[in-house]
């Protein structure tokens, strides 16, 4: 009797869990299916698998030719790649310094980092724009300068989170390793590159992945700085398609898939780093 009830509750548990999993997977499957469907059919028959007559590559061809995806991918990867590298390098150095050195003002600097996580991008974007306009970076119409104009605030916006996560991990690196390296004649920079980075590799990976994803997915900052067609990055392009595609729903579905694919690849390959690293940081506080 009790055994039966336990089995039943177990089945119920799996049912609920699977239902939620369905809500997170099915929408993407639905979009992918419909991106291959003749555009008229989406509105009448969107649930079947598009085979035979209904199947088409047209949506992708239209998306690729009508919008400048190639350029937008290039801009996105330039921006997000640079942001990722800068965040990892700068945050890694700062986290190491804050963890290992004891000095006056250390507590204050740590609060500066924690406080920096509180500022929503809304509250800094206008002065940043003004500052970069004065420097001659923002609003010039020059593609490369505009990319730099996006990169700088995105680096700053990701730094605090990255420093906090990296500090947590560097703290757990046993200091004996560093001491023996020091006795072997390494200076602090050699210790950092040869001991700390390999030891905290997985947390560096987490930080890099998140910096990349947040930068790649961000629409707000990008729409402030990237205003000319040749500067547009992926999310900006998608936003434009959504307002211009009208009733061409196949085109929309194909565009969504084109934007999601790089992220999907990153996620499937690296999901262990993403989830583990994040929770380690978040729960530690």
């Amino acid at each position: 009797m009790i055994n039966g009830r336990r089995k039943l509750s177990h089945a119920f548990t799996y049912l609920v869990l699977c239902l939620w999993a369905l809500t997170t997977i099915y929408p993407f499957i639905w979009v992918i299916l419909n991106s291959f469907r003749q555009k008229g059919l989406i509105m009448s028959d969107s649930f079947s698998i598009p085979l035979g007559e209904a199947f088409t590559w047209d949506n992708y061809l239209t998306a690729w030719h009508r919008s400048d995806f190639k350029n937008a991918y290039l801009n996105s990867f330039l921006i997000s790649g640079t942001v990722t590298v800068c965040v990892v390098v700068i945050a890694g150095l700062a986290a190491y310094g804050l963890v290992r050195y004891r000095f006056r003002g250390r507590g204050l600097l740590y609060s500066v980092v924690l406080g920096g996580m509180m500022f929503p991008v809304f509250s800094t974007i206008i002065p940043v724009f003004r500052m970069e306009a004065v420097m001659g970076i923002a609003g010039t119409g020059n593609r490369w300068l505009s990319l730099i104009a996006v990169i700088l605030p995105q680096v700053a916006g990701n730094l605090c989170f990255a420093i906090v996560i990296l500090m947590g991990f560097i703290q757990s690196v046993p200091i004996e390793l560093e001491e023996s390296a020091y006795l072997d004649g390494c200076n602090v920079f050699q210790i950092y590159f040869h001991i700390i980075i390999p030891a905290a590799k997985s947390s560096f990976a987490t930080v890099a992945i998140f910096a990349f994803l947040w930068s790649y997915n961000d629409l707000f900052t990008q729409s402030f700085f990237l205003r000319y067609p040749q500067e547009r990055a992926i999310t900006g392009l998608l936003n434009e398609i959504s307002s211009q595609a009208g009733v061409n729903y196949g085109l929309m579905a194909a565009s969504v898939v084109l934007v999601v694919i790089p992220v999907l690849v990153v996620y499937v390959c690296l999901q262990k780093h993403i989830i583990k690293g994040l929770t380690a940081g978040a729960v530690k506080g």
Binding site: W20, T24, Y96, Y182, V188, S242, T279
Partner: protein
């Protein structure tokens, strides 16, 4: 203990200067300049201020009397409330359920977390397709379930009364559902980690005392999870105040009929489209103040006492 290696402080400058220079120039300076900007008159994005507003608190006066601002504030607060209840609530239920199973926990974690890594812009477009007026996914589903009224004309043509998911009666649901859905997995993962950190012997002791099932959850798990839950709440509140991309892609500037503003989208529209830059700054200040106040309230209510 580490005095030997780290006594010489000069390398510290190289470690710290890049990061803190960035934070100072691109985070702290703009943040305080932004507060100053609310008192100044600024003619356009990137332009120099043209002196003080008259009166100097004009923007705050406007903030109080602006009816769209009131709508934005109301919607945002409803969104905060919904995220706290549904986002964290669903995440908690799912986390408690996953904690009881052995097979497949990894799979559920991967799948639940997936929407978070997708750009909200792409999700917005996807949900636009799903909530389409004529023949969207949801409406097709309703039609096939017989939940939409339709009539067959003598000519054989079927006229369906589609449900407009973005009209005045439904837009809050359509706007909030994707926002809440996207981040459930985030809190789920944090809560599962919190659950894993509860030592097994606590449960064993409870089992000896006869606590089982719901009782165990109510009196052991939830109190021990309180700290993590509180972290989730603060993250959910500040996250809800930052929402921009999804509603902007799905609803644009305040659709329907200026009922659909959120503080984030209204700030963007005022700054970027209406060129009321100093007023936009004021809205941004309000967003910060709201975040600080609300997360403090959450902390007051839910943060457990030190000895727990």
């Amino acid at each position: 203990m580490n005095s030997m290696i780290y006594k010489k402080k000069s390398p510290l400058l190289i470690f710290l200067i890049p990061a803190f220079a960035f934070l100072l120039v691109f985070l702290y300076y703009p943040f305080f300049q932004n507060i100053l900007n609310t008192f100044l008159q600024i003619g356009g994005l990137g332009r120099a201020p043209e002196g003080l507003n008259t009166p100097w608190y004009e923007n705050y006066q406007r903030l109080v009397s602006d009816p769209y601002m009131r709508t934005a504030l109301k919607n945002t607060l409803v969104l905060v409330l919904c995220t706290v209840i549904f986002q964290v609530g669903i995440a908690l239920i799912l986390a408690l359920l996953v904690d009881t199973i052995r097979v497949g926990a990894e799979f559920f974690r991967t799948v639940y977390f997936f929407p978070i890594v997708i750009s909200a812009t792409a999700l917005g477009l996807m949900f636009n397709l799903m909530f389409l007026y004529k023949g969207g996914m949801v409406n097709q589903l309703l039609l096939s379930l017989g939940r939409l009224p339709y009539e067959v004309k003598p000519s054989g043509k079927v006229i369906v009364q589609w449900l407009d998911w973005k009209d005045q009666a439904h837009f809050l649901f359509t706007m909030f559902l994707p926002v809440m859905w996207q981040y459930v997995g985030f809190y789920f993962v944090i809560l599962v980690t919190g659950l894993n950190n509860i030592p097994e012997d606590v449960y064993e002791a409870a089992a000896l005392d006869g606590a089982d099932g719901w009782k165990r959850t109510r009196f052991i798990t939830l109190p021990l999870l309180r700290n993590v839950l509180c972290t989730c709440l603060v993250l959910a509140i500040t996250g809800a105040l930052k929402v921009f991309d999804l509603p902007w892609v799905m609803f644009g500037a305040g659709m329907p009929e200026n009922q659909g503003w959120l503080t984030g989208t209204y700030m963007y529209d005022q700054t970027f489209n209406k060129m009321n830059v100093d007023y936009g700054s004021t809205i941004a200040v309000l967003i910060v103040v709201l975040g600080v106040v609300l997360s403090n309230v959450a902390n007051r209510i839910f943060r457990p006492s030190e000895d727990l």
